[in-house]
């Protein structure tokens, strides 16, 4: 029938679409099918001559869909389903037997599926957690946040999660019909003292409607008034326990630095999956009382760096209606700003945790791309394991074709066989799920330990819904993996199979299987090269010559302590060579800058800066091209008069025709102060490797609070020196634990995101290689088994072992080579054109990374192929041929 159709196709006029014909035959009740088909054919032929083939096909399809009506639909075949039910026991029995009989193949299938699915489970848990963010708020679908875009003519616009207090106040005053609105300010905190106990505390200032917008249940206190009066404080349960123990904290006093706060509320701990995290809330009126006097711009339209505005819209109200009002007074307010604009928009609460990257985020944010990438990686791994199952099942079909033949002769329909094999693969997938769950529990601890950020972000708890998704995943994987083999088995013709098994065209789908192997190995190669190239780049970042030295420098966070005293004490310790002060640690990604002007008062530019003292340059071995270290050491900021700049500054302002020697003594204006250039530094890396070297200046560290001490250590007994340093710290600061890190370690931390990425991709690469290897092993074993007789005969006729190995392994090796030829250039191109261009300073891709990755992937495969084929070639032909 089919052959007739395919032959006649070439000569006959166009046919109606095949799928539509099939669909019709599938749903239509047999009694009216023929007549309906005829009618549609007649109309099709008519349309063919009148409207052309394309339109005719289109009308045919539409008609097929239109005829899907109650009176045309075939009644469901209950008997068929019933037979499935009766036969279930038989299916299970045969499936179990075939699993036990082919231990190697079963092992490959189950382990492959289990390993891949464990990654799937991890991703499901991760995504479920991210999507569950902020779900505990009752009004979550109606809460919106005001976000801000800050534009200046010089720099690209900055998107901020924070906004101004003014926006909140204006919305409250002039936009009617908003259920509730709350203003938050970050940065509240300090050392809280109650009696003898002192605990560092962190949180936000929030106004009285905070609890109207968000659902944070209060255990004690009135939610409507708790945050109303100045110096009110709401504590979480955990914090209250730390401060007060078991005493009821309500109404008690907490001392923060120099101010007394009254505890007006006790709330349940903030759930982990909340994008706002805090230990305590102080009333916003406190902030107003504290800051309005000091900062005249507290309510300014452009004071957008620390405040957050959230509002609840009434049911049915669209954010667009509020946005319109926002736009009108944005225009009014912006007319009062010079040289910059501040525009605001609304963002739904859900996007606060999973949405675009915004600066000044109040809590953890996940960019959607990360979720897509993770899901993509899991999908690739799972598909790879499914390929194995498909491959091996079809390859092994010889063994089970007799069973199918017998079933069909007894009366099984195509759909029965299809159902049987689909059910079998689903059962195997469910078995694999059990194994993979164990693997997942292990993976979870590893994943959470990767980085504190991940640990704070998600909990990966296993809940009822998530388990349902796991099972769904397993069923889906089973169906996906089993579909092709089931289809293959269901099409077996029983008579042919029972008469002569070899008539079965097992090798007909060889191209499909070869393609699958190439894809698997290609992907493995891509992953492993990505890992290796990434690792090489990462290493190069760590060992990069920054233009100064970081060896044996211990950076101690001062945490607001006076640096001079501590520096003095520390330099007494044996093993400490020299101590310097700096406002920030360069090359780690933290930056600070101000505008600088030279002679032209119209020409200003942003120059990154660091405040350092006179010991800083020698300790870090910065190279001075001209001039000296700071000559004056003022105690107060007003007395500051000197600056040391790098080459980029001279180039930017064209100072003294870019001659470092002549630039000395020139004056620049920074922060309205005239500073004299006393030194010119050779360029060094102030930012991370993504950034080009930009203009940087060093200013003298005067009386600012905070910053770091840089301690140059030279000792043979590091633990003792460290203990001494810690002791000095504890004498001066009894509250905060010392936070000291070696510079080199800090640089490693700064690039930790790369380390994490490399670990994740490396792990995926490892899994991909394992799964591909297992699949290849299965194929090789199968191939040599089926060709054992051929091998024996060849051997009898005089073939050498080497020749046989070559014969058997040739096709597989070709596949691997082909995979390498596709994957390697693709990866190199991708890295060269897409990834590495983001890094201003990077290593070129080296050949040995590619060679290593090829070796890692190919060598085990190669050894396995050779050992398996050699094994087959060494078999005694007499024994093999005797049994037949």
């Amino acid at each position: 029938m089919r052959s007739f159709n395919t032959k006649s196709k070439k000569t006959e006029p166009p046919q109606p679409p095949r799928w539509a014909q099939r669909l019709l035959a599938w749903y239509c009740r047999p009694s009216i099918l023929e007549d309906l088909q005829g009618d549609l054919n007649e109309y099709f032929e008519r349309n063919l001559t009148m409207k052309g083939p394309r339109k005719a096909r289109w009308i045919y399809c539409l008609d097929v869909l239109k005829f899907f009506r109650p009176y045309t639909i075939r009644k469901p075949d209950f008997i068929n389903l019933f037979i499935h039910w009766i036969m279930l026991g038989s299916y299970l029995k045969t499936s179990r037997r075939s699993l036990v009989r082919n231990k190697l193949f079963s092992f490959i299938n189950i382990v492959g599926l289990a390993v891949s699915m464990s990654v799937g489970l991890l991703v499901i848990s991760f995504v479920a957690d991210i999507l569950a963010y902020d779900d505990f708020h009752e009004k979550r679908d109606r809460i919106y946040r005001v976000i801000t875009t800050f534009k200046t003519p010089e720099q690209p616009p900055v998107d901020l999660a924070s906004t101004s207090v003014k926006v909140g106040q204006r919305i409250r005053k002039s936009v009617p019909g908003i259920d509730a609105l709350t203003i938050l300010r970050n940065g509240f905190g300090g050392d809280a003292t109650v009696g003898e106990t002192t605990v560092p505390l962190g949180g936000h200032w929030a106004d009285a409607s905070f609890f109207k917008v968000f659902t944070f249940p209060l255990l004690e206190g009135n939610p409507a008034t708790a945050l109303k009066d100045p110096y009110s404080l709401v504590l979480t349960e955990k914090t209250a326990k730390k401060l007060f123990g078991d005493v009821d904290p309500l109404g008690k006093t907490v001392r923060l630095d120099t101010l007394n706060y009254t505890v007006t509320g006790l709330m349940k701990d903030v759930p982990k999956l909340s994008h706002i995290q805090f230990e305590a809330l102080a009333s916003f009126s406190t902030a107003e009382a504290q800051f309005t006097r000091k900062d005249p711009n507290f309510y300014g339209w452009d004071n957008i760096w620390q405040n957050y505005v959230y509002m609840v819209l009434p049911v049915q109200t669209k954010p667009e209606s509020v946005l319109q009002a926002l736009n009108t007074f944005t225009k009014q307010e912006n007319s009062g700003l010079v040289n910059r604009t501040v525009s605001v928009s609304l963002q739904p609460l859900k996007e606060a945790s999973l949405g675009p990257k915004l600066h000044n985020a109040i809590g953890p944010t996940m960019v959607p791309i990360v979720i897509w990438v993770l899901s993509g990686l899991a999908l690739v791994i799972i598909l790879s394991a499914c390929f194995n199952y498909t491959n091996l099942s079809i390859a092994r079909s010889l063994r089970r074709s007799r069973e199918v033949g017998v079933r069909k002769i007894i009366g099984a329909l195509k759909s029965h066989v299809l159902g049987q094999f689909m059910a079998e693969s689903v059962i195997i997938a469910l078995m694999a799920l059990i194994v993979s769950f164990g693997l997942f529990l292990f993976l979870r601890t590893q994943f959470l330990a990767l980085d504190p950020f991940i640990n704070n972000l998600v909990s990966l708890e296993v809940s009822g819904w998530v388990i349902l998704y796991y099972i769904l995943l397993a069923i889906l994987v089973g169906l996906l993996a089993g579909f092709l083999p089931a289809l293959f088995f269901s099409r077996i013709k029983p008579i042919q199979v029972l008469r002569d098994v070899s008539a079965l065209k097992v090798f007909r789908r060889v191209t499909l299987r070869k393609t699958l192997i190439i894809i698997q190995y290609g992907l493995s190669l891509i992953f492993i090269t990505t890992t290796l190239i990434g690792y090489a780049q990462y290493r190069s970042f760590l060992t990069f010559d920054l233009g100064f030295t970081t060896d044996n420098i211990l950076n101690i966070n001062l945490k607001g302590n006076k640096g001079a005293v501590l520096a003095n004490e520390l330099s007494q310790i044996p093993g400490v060579v020299e101590v310097s002060k700096s406002q920030l640690i360069t090359s780690l990604g933290s930056m600070g800058g101000t505008t600088m002007k030279y002679k032209d008062s119209q020409d200003s530019a942003l120059v990154w800066h660091n405040m350092v003292d006179e010991h800083y340059l020698p300790i870090h071995k910065h190279k001075l091209l001209a001039g000296t270290n700071f000559t004056r050491h003022p105690k107060k900021g007003e007395e500051e008069s000197e600056v040391i700049v790098n080459e980029q500054v001279i180039r930017r302002f064209n100072i003294a025709k870019r001659n470092p020697q002549k630039a000395l003594g020139e004056q620049v204006v920074v922060d309205k102060k005239k500073l004299t250039i006393v030194g010119v530094l050779k360029d060094f890396h102030y930012g991370t490797m993504e950034k080009q070297i930009e203009p940087v200046m060093f200013r003298y560290f005067t009386d600012q609070l905070g910053g770091y001490l840089n301690v140059k250590v030279a000792t043979t007994d590091l633990p003792a020196t460290m203990a001494n340093i810690e002791e000095v710290w504890r004498k001066l600061d009894k509250i905060h634990p010392m936070e000291a890190k070696f510079y080199d370690d800090q640089i490693e931390e700064a690039y930790q995101q790369f380390a994490i990425m490399i670990k994740v991709i490396g792990f995926v690469a490892f899994l991909a290689i394992c799964i591909a290897f297992l699949g290849l092993l299965g194929m090789v074993v199968f191939m040599t088994e089926t060709r054992l007789k051929e091998i024996s005969i060849r051997k009898v006729l005089g073939a050498s072992e080497g020749g046989l190995v070559y014969l058997l392994s040739k096709s597989f090796l070709n596949l691997l080579l082909l995979a390498a030829f596709v994957a390697l250039p693709a990866t190199c191109l991708f890295f060269d054109q897409v990834v590495l261009v983001n890094f201003a300073y990077h290593q070129p891709i080296r050949v040995n990374e590619l060679v290593i990755s090829v070796l890692v992937v190919m060598l085990p495969a190669f050894l396995m192929i050779v050992s398996q084929t050699l094994n087959a070639a060494r078999k005694n032909p007499a024994k093999v041929l005797k049994s037949d």
């Binding site: 007549d35 009618d39 032929e45 009506r69």
Partner: protein
């Protein structure tokens, strides 16, 4: 009650089947209807009506012989049953008696 009623379109289809005598199959019925009424008769609608008429027992059908046209599919020919004839005649009588009760000038005046 609904089972024996004859809708307006059903009546038209039934009449068409009677008019086509031995050549009444779905596509031909559609064409004939289009010719007489001047409005497009959709196959889907006609098919559904034929199915309903058969359910009500006004028509019966049989499959014709296979030909090379229509992709080798047979046609289903319809003919009006006795019940169908009765219901047609009854419908005609109802109309005629109504027509007869209208005084001639009354209708002409409104035209």
């Amino acid at each position: 009650m609904k089972g024996t009623n004859l809708g307006e379109f059903e009546e038209l289809v039934l009449l068409t089947i009677a008019a086509l005598i031995n050549d009444a199959y779905s596509v031909a019925i559609c064409d004939e209807l289009e010719k007489h009424t001047g409005r497009a008769a959709k196959l889907g609608v006609v098919h559904a009506v034929l199915n309903r008429l058969e359910e009500k027992g006004f028509v019966k059908s049989h499959l014709g012989d296979a030909t090379s046209a229509r992709g080798g599919k047979r046609k289903r020919y319809y003919e009006v049953t006795h019940a169908g004839k009765v219901v047609l005649i009854k419908a005609k009588e109802v109309r005629e008696s109504l027509w007869n009760s209208i005084p001639g000038f009354n209708l002409e005046g409104s035209l």
